[in-house]
């Protein structure tokens, strides 16, 4: 049976960021899927080597707009471990609050995008309108809607006062009932459920085998969450946390897991706001970081985010490596696409909450014959000129 190849990307209305898929399609069923990454590569890791640790705080934030705080948190925790400083408790609470507020805004964004990918635009508009509450709240606390710049070595840069705490509690109470409404809607609206129930099935063994992380894994029944396995900012010690999973393994399960995580985040935020300890919010941190290497992990909105930092005793890091959660979820996506309908492609891709800005780092492909090629600027330039010269473009 003859199949033809549909290109989805790099520019496609279904994708929010450039990715290149090649889907081999037989009628309306996808037979094979292939993936190409790298369209959003900006050289973050190389840039990080030529900037000081203080400048890198802001560089790490700009890896992604939606999970900006998660990357900063990961980096800061790693560097603080190298520096060997202890952060005051109030600062830990505020860090946790900002991380959970960011999770709320990201999951509301995802609900809207999922609605838009299946053509349910009203759902999209409503969730994004309610997301504005969180954005205004974050603007109130930190001065900016994205890239909060609240983290610094030794604590946080701003403190919360009574008026802000009151506003936060009101906003969270409002969002709680809106999220309950969206969860109800997502599970009872017939056209929405028809598009997401049974779509993109990822069984538990496959999720474990393909190393899925984040809500994708938790929706297949795999209870993995860095907040529980490798706690940071006080999870498990003084901030209560319960992992949310679902057994469905399909897109409906992912919607349910994210909605449940939203409710859990509201609980965490309310606990923090009501039990904020007194104290200072930062301690002084040295400018030069002692030698060493460290791996730090946080649970970003999309899954497990790993940063590896190696320092050589100067003000600038020696090597920084970032492994974003979406990179771990792509093999699972390719597995889910095989055997799915063409019409389900956008919602399956959106189901893992892809963030290409997070994902695209340097991947070194070793030649199977044994020689690893490293190209310098001149070779790359010459190759590009020959390539385009042959195609007469």
């Amino acid at each position: 049976m003859s199949t033809f190849t549909i290109p989805v990307g790099p520019q496609h209305p279904a994708l929010k960021e450039p990715t290149s898929f090649r889907l081999e399609v037989d009628g309306e069923v996808i037979v094979n899927a292939d993936l190409r990454l790298g369209y959003n590569h900006r050289g973050i890791e190389k840039l990080a080597e030529s900037r000081s640790y203080i400048q890198n705080l802001f560089l790490m934030e700009r890896i992604c707009g939606i999970c900006s705080n998660a990357h900063t948190a990961c980096f800061t925790h790693g560097v603080e471990k190298l520096m060997g400083i202890e952060v005051p408790k109030r600062a830990t609470y505020i860090r946790c609050l900002i991380g959970e507020l960011e999770r709320v805004h990201s999951h509301l964004l995802w609900l809207g995008v999922a609605g838009h990918e299946v053509g349910f635009d009203t759902f999209f508009m409503y969730t994004w309108r309610d997301r504005e509450t969180i954005m205004d709240l974050l603007e109130l606390l930190s001065g900016n809607r994205v890239h909060y710049c609240l983290y610094t070595y030794g604590g946080v840069r701003r403190d919360l006062d009574e008026g802000q705490i009151q506003k936060c509690l009101e906003a969270i109470a409002f969002l709680r009932e809106r999220t309950a409404y969206y969860l109800n809607l997502g599970a009872t609206e017939p056209t929405f459920v028809a598009r997401i129930a049974g779509v993109g099935k990822l069984p538990k063994e496959k999720a474990l085998e393909l190393c899925a992380v984040g809500p994708l894994a938790r929706a297949s029944g795999v209870a993995v969450d860095i907040r529980q396995d490798d706690p940071y900012v006080g999870f498990g010690e003084y901030i209560p946390f319960h992992i949310q999973t679902d057994e469905g393994g399909d897109l409906l399960a992912r919607v349910i897991v994210r909605a449940k995580e939203l409710m859990e985040s509201y609980n965490i935020c309310e606990y923090i706001l009501k039990n904020l300890p007194a104290g200072e919010v930062r301690v002084k941190a040295p400018r030069k970081v002692p030698e060493g290497e460290v791996v730090s992990r946080v649970e970003a909105q999309r899954g497990e985010d790993i940063h590896y930092i190696r320092s050589n005793g100067t003000e600038k890091p020696d090597r920084v490596k970032v492994r974003a959660p979406t990179l771990a979820n792509w093999p699972a996506t390719l597995y889910m696409l095989k055997g799915a309908y063409v019409a389900d492609t956008p919602i399956i891709m959106a189901g893992i909450d892809p963030c290409m800005s997070c994902t695209d780092r340097m991947v070194e492909i070793a030649d199977v014959r044994g020689d690893v090629k490293v190209w310098d600027w001149e070779t790359l330039r010459q190759y590009g000129m020959n390539f385009h010269g042959k195609r007469k473009v």
């Binding site: 203080i54 009203t122 759902f123 900016n144 710049c149 017939p190």
Partner: protein, 147 residues
């Protein structure tokens, strides 16, 4: 859960009579909230020229230049520095204000910098011209300030 046809209809019909969530900027003024970080403003009288702000700025948007130095009547050495702020590079993170050990940089409330040329977005904070001090032989360091 049981499927319900037209689950959204009551909510959608209620919205017909509600005010829209749109804020019609720029026809309606929409001021920034009070605690935005804004743009750095430097006081040349306080600056000691340690260049920590220049080192710590993640966007390399600050240039500190030595304007002149002289000895005043009391015999104290006075150094004056100017700051060139490239506002088109500034990310409004206020790290410069934090790093400054003498609090020479304050943040104002402006975030809206739109201009037609890049030159308009180069803010220059210069100290006052060097005073002519009669008694002491002044030795101004000739660092021609960039226009």
């Amino acid at each position: 859960m049981k499927l319900q046809l037209g689950a959204m209809v009551p909510e959608v019909m209620k919205h017909l009579f509600r005010r829209t969530a749109t804020i019609q900027v720029p026809f309606v003024p929409h001021p920034a909230p009070g605690n935005i970080r804004g743009t750095p403003v430097m006081d040349p009288l306080k600056c000691i020229g340690c260049k920590r702000c220049e080192m710590d700025c993640p966007a390399e948007a600050i240039e500190i230049k030595k304007e002149y130095e002289y000895k005043n009547e009391a015999g104290k050495l006075i150094r004056r520095f100017s700051m060139t702020l490239y506002v088109d590079r500034c990310t409004h993170c206020s790290q410069c204000a934090e790093s400054c050990p003498v609090d020479a940089i304050q943040m104002d409330q402006h975030y809206d910098h739109a201009a037609y040329t890049r030159e308009e977005l180069k803010f220059l904070y210069k100290p006052e011209p060097m005073p002519v001090v009669a008694a002491q032989p002044a030795a101004p360091v000739a660092d021609a300030p960039k226009a």
